[in-house]
Symmetry: C2
Subunit: 363 residues, 2 copies
DNA sequence: TTGTAGGCGTTATCAC
DNA sequence: GTGATAACGCCTACAA
């Protein structure tokens, strides 16, 4: 009797050579047959596949990597794994990559030192993956360059590097849309809560600000520099920023560049007894799940799709043979869409609602 | 002149053999020296390390894996990558593993079919990683078993499997604490918003419910079955659950098993003109960043730490030689702490606040 | 269409 | 303490 029914024991691994013997072909043929390569007789392929299935054969990833030089792995590098935006981007990347048979490695770049470590050649990103998705990390354009030099496919989310596939929201348009919404309500004293705080310092804020300002100018409105405050794309940052804005010469409407910051801003308002949309209007970006809860007007985007689109473009680049020779086409990724979702956190200037009696205005 | 200043070209990879030649020793010695193994003369080691540094040598992960049988990789499997709780657990895992030189692979198990695919031996989790962290996936205890059989280290978060290191909150105590808080305020008509909705079906809800009920019994209070509603640990689920609770014979206080569900519950209250903490008290679990924003009373836990603790225990198990022989110690992981954070979403029964006039009660 | 054999870059087991 | 050298398991020209 054979020994394969001893349970509790780790089953002996079946190798390609076992399949070859059983199917009565060479290992080369097994390899070709199983990977769907050409030059294998249909009948042979069927036989090999059957045997492999029956034996439960699966190639060893490590061996395949070493021999083929491909890792079947994608790395996702994000500023912070725990944040709403980034974790959803990662979710999109993972769904697409796993589906395509790629492993996905995550790396958080919370601290600048971690980015440095990645730029360092010793990180060997090129040996660990076939492609990398860089999410909002322009600090590290050197990283991108070194990756490209080492023949690692690159795709980005939120910023661009060279002409690699990039999933970038039309941020100026987003800024302009936000401005338009507020201006349309009659607001002329506008504030902005943007980036520019610690660990994340990326390009998104300036692009959104630019669009916002340009739109304002069309209305002959100027946004004072003191009314542009950094919030670091975090809840507490948004809270602090709104506090600053309210401190002196408060605006009647505020554009927060992310919903999370907007939530913080709402919090600051409520603590002062001010009603969002009545005393001060607030518009955010993202359409975070909670935007609905607090009735936040926002500009919606599909974050998971952003990640998925980047992953698809990356895989396409990896699988495109021309990528290696350097003359692949730009391989542009889809451009994300966005749309205004109006809720009650924004409203007309001096638009105290009839059904409200508690609201008060600043002196 | 050498060719190494041709830029734009992918630099030729330096192999262990190059280091060996340059340092005038064998590859075996280089390998030992670089990995800090014994039986290497101090002077030799210094020389080898210097040369390696100078040449920028780094071992190829794929080759090392194939030869050593270790992957230096950890897999984190979570029900949903984009959710607040899980993404923070992953952040904790990643921080610890990366720090220790391990790669971390993420796998989302959103759909049951994905779990099945992992259980299938063809997923070869054992060949792709040295250890796996299973987060809230008791659906897949078969998965855990198969992993163990294949000698992959396992650690869990949120549930237990065998006596592998597990990071599990004392859920009954959490439930009891929530109950105590509400009961102390005089509430006797209690509702619960728990799990039991689609994709996530884990052990946490029943444990929290048990503790909650037991504490109630100490006060002679019974929680009617109709007042225990599933919310799937999601915002919308919490919203819907609260709507159900309010529909008929509404409770005066509700225990939501996660803050996200609590947020949904608050939303349902507000839509009806009910004031949290006055008309209906709500207590959550987690101390999500937004709990502060909406003044949600909650039971705080440190989610990132949970992931980190699991990772630490996992790495310890991986590095413990006894693990392989099967007689390693249980290697218990740290038990997470928790604490009540009282805010205004909970308050005394019939405790209409003096400064409130708009609040109304249900008929 | 199929098989042979060299190589991928390390690790680990021996002798020395 | 050090050095050959055989694995590790697969891929892929090249030959047949």
């Amino acid at each position: 009797m054979s020994t394969d029914d001893t349970n509790g024991e780790a089953p002996r691994r079946v190798r390609i050579e076992d399949v070859a013997a059983q199917a009565d072909v060479s290992v080369a043929t097994v390899s070709r047959a199983l990977r769907g390569l050409p030059n294998v007789a249909a009948s042979t392929r069927r036989r090999v596949v059957d045997v492999a299935e029956q034996l439960g054969y699966q190639p060893d990833p490590a061996a395949a990597r070493l021999a083929a030089g491909r890792t079947n792995t994608v790395i996702a590098i994000v500023p912070h794994l725990g944040s709403w935006y980034f974790s959803n981007v990662v979710a999109g990347i993972e769904a697409v990559c796993t589906q395509a048979g790629y492993d996905v490695l995550v790396i958080g770049a919370d601290e600048p030192s971690r980015v440095d470590r990645l730029i360092d050649e010793r990180a060997q990103l090129d040996r660990r993956a076939d492609g990398v998705v860089l999410v909002d990390l322009p600090v590290a354009s050197e990283l991108a360059e070194s990756l490209v030099r080492r023949r690692v496919a690159v795709a980005t989310v939120g910023w661009r590097v060279g002409d690699h596939p990039a999933v970038v929201l039309d941020d100026p348009a987003v800024g302009a849309l936000a401005a338009e919404h507020l201006l349309h309500f009659g607001h002329r004293d506008l504030g902005v809560i943007g980036g520019d705080l610690d660990p994340i310092a990326f390009e998104v804020p300036e692009r959104r600000l630019r669009g916002f300002r340009e739109q304002c100018q069309r209305y002959g409105v100027d946004v004072a520099a003191e009314r542009i405050v950094g919030g670091g794309f975090r809840l507490d940052g948004g809270y602090a920023a709104m506090a600053v804005l309210l401190e002196h010469d408060p605006p009647t409407a505020v554009f927060a560049m992310s919903d999370e910051m907007a939530f913080g801003a709402l919090m600051a308002l409520q603590e002062r007894g001010l009603t969002p949309g009545v005393d001060v209007s607030v518009i955010g970006v993202d359409d975070h799940e909670f935007a609905h809860v607090v009735e936040l007007t926002t500009i919606r985007q599909n974050v998971v799709d952003n990640g998925a689109a980047a992953a698809r473009a990356l895989l396409a680049a990896i699988q495109d043979p021309r990528t290696t020779t350097g003359d692949a086409e730009p391989a542009e990724a889809e451009t994300p869409t966005f749309s205004l979702v109006a809720r009650s956190s924004t409203g007309p200037l001096n638009g105290h609602r009839a059904d409200r009696t508690l609201s008060s205005r600043l002196p």
